[in-house]
């Protein structure tokens, strides 16, 4: 656990020092929400049915962008190799990177939920919706953390991450959008979709934990 926390603390410190990547992801997400709010306000009187899609599209693209940037820096500086050379198992490294990624992503998502609450005049910070957002984030952060390691060079990695991540994330996105809609009272019951989201989060986390040591082998 000591090594996992060492990786988490180091990654959060780096995220704070090298704020550019995360700030860009946050700025992209904020601008997207802002544009959506004005566009939908002009087009329709009821924006609520559109909210789940808006939220998850924004979360996902911001997350994929931020995950790619983090691994690119590690690869360029050779520090990912330095971690692999240490006696720590790749699984521990993966868990550390996943936890730090989750903390940073959830911070961005909370800020976005607050912004969306104001812009769309809809109470979004409910315990139910927060749980759905955290489950969905765990699901996609696991996959993007795993896929972020693939590819032999930064350019390959930059292409592989979105190309491979987005199709794999379709089931999670559908479940997340439906569960979010259910929690907002748009689509009716949200329980089966939340369950599917939880299953996806569990599956993607376990799959990533198992595959990560193989993915970093050369």
């Amino acid at each position: 656990m000591n090594a996992t926390f060492a990786v988490v603390a180091k990654d959060l410190r780096l995220a704070w020092r090298d704020r550019a990547g995360w700030l860009t992801a946050g700025a992209f997400a904020t601008i997207s929400i802002l544009i959506y709010s004005f566009a939908f306000d002009l087009a329709t009187n009821d924006v609520r049915p559109l909210l789940p899609g808006v939220l998850w599209t924004t979360f996902l693209f911001a997350g994929v962008f931020a995950a790619g940037a983090g691994f690119q820096r590690e690869a360029e500086e050779g520090t990912f190799d330095a971690m692999l050379l240490s006696p720590v198992s790749p699984t521990v490294i993966f868990l550390g990177k996943l936890i730090s990624s989750l903390i940073a992503l959830i911070a961005i998502e909370f800020a976005l939920l607050i912004a969306a609450t104001i812009l769309f005049d809809e109470p979004l910070l409910t315990p139910e919706l927060v749980a759905i957002v955290m489950l969905g984030t765990a699901g996609y952060a696991s996959l993007t953390t795993l896929l972020g390691t693939l590819g032999s060079g930064p350019r390959t990695r930059a292409v592989l991450l979105p190309v491979m991540a987005l199709p794999l994330l379709v089931p999670m996105l559908i479940a997340a959008v439906r569960a979010t809609g259910g929690s907002l009272g748009i689509f009716g019951g949200d329980a089966p979709w939340t369950l599917l989201l939880a299953v996806f989060a569990l599956w993607s986390t376990l799959t990533a934990i198992i595959l990560f040591p193989l993915a970093v082998e050369r």
Partner: protein
């Protein structure tokens, strides 16, 4: 000369193929513990790939190898704890300070009394005054000094070094000799193009040519059977 010390590095027909080309081919070498060996050869001879194989970063296509008696195939924590590695890339976090870099790697290696060890290395390498500055503003030579500290923080028994003199001034090279290349009891395998310096620290040479061992003054002195620890 026969060398009865246990083997620190022992490879049998180690081969690594990339895109159909054997970059390292049938390399069999035996380096007793405590020896200082220069790994030479022209560009593309396979030095860096051999060091990557021995450091467990790259898997062999075929063949076997042991470091301090532990098979590379096991990729055990004990094996990696016994290795100190310097590569072309400094392998440092540019946004972290020298102190933060070493603290992080000391935690990964579970270094006992890490604060004392880190202070000792930073002072020895002349980095103590700059310990809080971001690594990104350090010069190439200072980076290399910090890389040396990173590789030594866990007191490894076997050092795998790739062009360790890169960027170092004469004072830095003297420190490299003292802390790594001539460190008592530590086994060194160092790739180098500084042929003029080999006599100053090495007691053996392994020369590679197109992936194969072309010259080996070390293994010949080691008994073949039963020498592996």
């Amino acid at each position: 000369m026969s060398d009865a010390a246990p083997l620190a590095i022992d490879t049998r027909a180690l081969t690594r193929r990339y895109a159909g080309v054997d970059v390292v081919r049938d390399v069999t070498v035996r380096v007793p513990a405590g020896r200082k060996v220069a790994l030479t050869g022209s560009n593309g001879a396979g030095k860096t790939t051999l060091l990557s194989l021995l450091s467990t970063l790259v898997q062999p296509t075929s063949g076997e190898a042991w470091i301090a008696g532990r098979s590379l195939g096991e990729r055990s924590a004990a094996l990696r704890r016994s290795l100190g590695v310097l590569r072309h890339s400094p392998m440092l976090y540019e946004a972290l300070s020298p102190l933060e870099n070493l603290e992080f790697f000391a935690r990964l290696y579970h270094v006992p009394d890490a604060a004392t060890r880190i202070e000792e290395l930073l002072r020895l390498l002349g980095l103590w005054r700059r310990r809080h500055e971001p690594a990104s503003i350090l010069s190439r030579g200072t980076h290399q000094r910090l890389s040396i500290a990173r590789a030594l923080v866990h007191r490894p028994a076997v050092l795998l070094l790739d062009e360790p003199e890169t960027g170092l001034d004469p004072e830095g090279i003297a420190l490299l000799d003292e802390l790594m290349l001539r460190a008592p009891g530590v086994t060194v395998l160092a790739a180098t193009h500084r042929v003029d310096r080999i006599e100053a620290w090495a007691d053996g040479v392994i020369r590679l040519d197109r992936g194969r061992v072309a010259e080996d003054t070390v293994s010949a002195s080691v008994p073949h059977a039963g020498a592996r620890a």
